[in-house]
């Protein structure tokens, strides 16, 4: 056996890059977290402590009075209830309509169906302002301004593009042979959709439910246009509204923001995988 001509290194040379990258990411992560952390910190401080100029510091003690104040406010209850009353039905309805249309585009294509699909999908790219005025006039004529109905209906309609897109893409992965086998067994298209395609598409439904719920819960423009009285406001509008009432009570404002964000935060933490998948699927396959 010939000896190595060059001195063999005893072990692989040290590579500093992973450590550098890790530290860089930690710094960036802290920068990214700072804004959210600030709100969290302020929400557990007394107004006095904040007034002394310590909004961004670690609280002297954990003060939960801000949360108590927010949770005791009947207006907040009403806002939250209104938001649920809009988000839940609109989420379900938009997914249901998207599933119906998506099934046709995936499994029963026809001449011109691609164009129709494209028209529907491009609906998700337009600023909502382009349909604002006619809808305002429409609901005004129907005497539905300052009710929750316009919000439910519009969120359902505006959800159709993304729901149709994702459901079509998901149904397209359901093998055609399954549909054909079911049809040979005597099932009709409705039964194929309900009994075969949908049960196989639970991941897509989860993705859409998280996406739609988050968007509708967080929406600001539509309730701003269609609700006027305090009784009909949703939580995001409510936050803005209560700013006056808690004008210097920064801690209460922080607690209010966090409570308002809690449902979407919970959805994000538990369904993050679906959420990210939906965002990327919707974006990449647009």
């Amino acid at each position: 056996m010939a000896d190595a001509a060059v001195l063999p290194p005893a072990r692989p040379p040290f590579n500093p890059w992973p450590a550098v990258i890790f530290v860089a990411l930690i710094v960036l992560a802290l920068l990214f977290l700072a804004p959210t952390a600030g709100v969290l910190l302020s929400s557990v401080k007394t107004t006095r402590e904040i007034a002394l100029g310590a909004l961004w510091s670690i609280p002297a003690e954990l003060y939960l009075g801000n949360y108590a104040e927010v949770l005791a406010n009947p207006a907040v209850h009403r806002y939250l209830l209104n938001t649920v009353l809009v988000s839940a039905p609109a989420t379900v309805a938009s997914i249901a309509l998207g599933a119906l249309a998506g099934y046709v585009f995936a499994k029963l294509p026809f001449r011109g169906s691609n164009l129709l699909f494209l028209v529907i999908v491009s609906g998700m790219f337009f600023p909502p302002q382009v349909i604002l005025i006619p809808l305002f006039r429409l609901f005004n004529a129907m005497n539905l301004i300052d009710t929750l109905w316009p919000l439910i209906v519009i969120h359902t309609a505006m959800g159709i593009p993304i729901c149709t897109l994702l459901m079509r893409n998901f149904f397209a992965t359901v093998p055609n042979a399954l549909r054909e086998a079911a049809i040979l067994e005597g099932a009709n298209e409705w039964q194929v959709l309900i009994r075969v395609a949908l049960p196989l598409s639970l991941p897509a439904l989860a993705v859409l439910a998280t996406l739609q719920f988050t968007w509708i819960w967080n929406d600001f423009l539509w309730p701003l246009i269609f609700t006027q009285s305090d009784e009909k406001r949703t939580i995001m509008l409510g936050i803005v509204n209560l700013r006056g009432q808690y004008s210097v009570a920064w801690g209460v404002q922080g607690a209010l923001s966090l409570i308002a964000s809690l449902p979407t935060l919970v959805v994000f933490l538990f369904f993050q995988r679906y959420f990210i998948k939906g965002m990327t699927m919707g974006a990449v396959k647009g």
Binding site: M1, A2, A4, A5, V6, P8, P9, R11, P12, P13
Partner: protein, 355 residues
């Protein structure tokens, strides 16, 4: 001189041992083929030579230089991937010249060398095309072009032909053989296709479960397999294995017995249970008086140049395969007399080692 030496090379993935203490010397200019079933460690072995996988233990020397911990690009190796691994956003010329561009070689020199390489591979007309505009065979040539332009000491091929259809595979095999003769380099070639192994290799290394079963010239492996595994792996259709016994014969030499058949093996051997192996081409249809046993024909496969006959016998559960000239007319259901060629008898002990 680019001799490639593997000393006690081991690669573990967690608890799984993919390559187990392999020792191997490949001489300069030699074409060595790694074969084995999938998951046997042959590809991992190749990737540790390239440096894409680090070794868990052992040393790798290229041209007497210890490269165990040297970056892949400084080992003097080039690799041709199974998937071709061409960059979809680069033309043929850019793909071939990729390594030179990385090394900041002047543009005109890159152009000159790319054209030279393209000429040898007869792909000059394709230099401005993108990979998606090329056929499988053309892509393979481009991939090979990228590997030879850097003039490496060792070429590594990772199943380069397995994505091609059968006819193209034969043509590309010939081209690689031509390349082997023209380039003065050491080549290591991984495949699971034994025809490629037999036709291309100076030496074949048979891998199984992370270790080497046998190393040898193709014909050597075919004629004298060291164990049951190699005997069964090399050769298609595979060697027949028949449970048998060694018993004493005439003149102190031994006989091998299976069923009612007893054949002299022409040498001494300890008595006991063995596996008797005989290749399909060493069985023949015999005259009534010369036959060793009778077999009932189950299926006849007519391949044109030859026919394969599957026989049911009393001494083997698995059907016995034999290879016969196509003009012999044999039909399913009939019983035919078979003679065993005496020169090529393989005997394996209980551990599978050749006796």
């Amino acid at each position: 001189m680019a001799r490639l030496v593997l000393e006690d090379v081991t690669k573990r993935f967690g608890a799984v041992i993919a390559v187990d203490a392999v020792d191997l010397q490949i001489e300069h200019g030699e074409f060595v083929v790694f074969v084995g079933p999938s998951g046997c460690g042959k590809s991992t072995m190749l990737r540790t030579i390239s440096g894409l996988e680090s070794v868990s233990a052992g040393r790798i020397l290229i041209g007497d230089r210890d490269v165990t911990h040297v970056a892949p690009s400084r080992r003097g190796v080039a690799m041709v991937f199974q998937s071709y691994a061409l960059f979809p956003h680069m033309t043929t010329a850019e793909n071939i010249g990729f390594g030179l561009r990385l090394a900041r070689v002047p543009k005109d020199e890159i152009a000159r060398r790319v054209t030279d390489v393209a000429k040898t591979l007869q792909i000059e007309a394709l230099l401005d095309r993108y990979p998606r505009q090329l056929s499988g065979g053309q892509r393979q040539r481009v991939a090979i072009g990228r590997s030879i332009i850097r003039d490496p000491e060792v070429f590594l091929f990772d199943e380069p032909l397995s994505n091609l259809d059968a006819a193209l595979r034969v043509r590309m095999r010939l081209e690689i053989a031509r390349l082997r003769d023209r380039l003065d380099a050491t080549m290591v070639y991984v495949t699971h296709d034994q025809t490629e192994a037999m036709t291309l290799a100076d030496r074949i290394v048979v891998f199984n479960q992370g270790h080497i079963e046998q190393i040898g010239a193709p014909v050597e492996l075919y004629d004298a397999p060291a164990n049951l595994f190699v005997a069964g792996f090399i050769g298609a259709p595979a060697m027949n294995f028949i449970p048998a016994e060694i018993e004493a014969g005439e003149n102190g030499k031994a006989n091998v017995r299976f069923g009612a058949v007893s054949l002299p093996i022409g040498r001494e051997a300890a008595e006991g249970k063995v596996t008797f192996g005989v290749r399909p081409e060493h069985l023949s249809v015999a005259a009534e008086s010369e036959h060793d046993f009778l077999g009932r024909v189950e299926i006849v496969e007519k391949l044109g140049a030859e026919s394969l006959v599957y026989l049911q016998t009393g001494f083997s559960k698995a059907p016995i395969t034999m290879r016969i000239p196509p003009e012999l007319s044999v039909h399913a259901g009939e019983e035919i007399p078979v003679r065993v060629g005496r020169k090529r008898l393989h005997l394996f002990d209980a551990e599978g080692r050749v006796i």
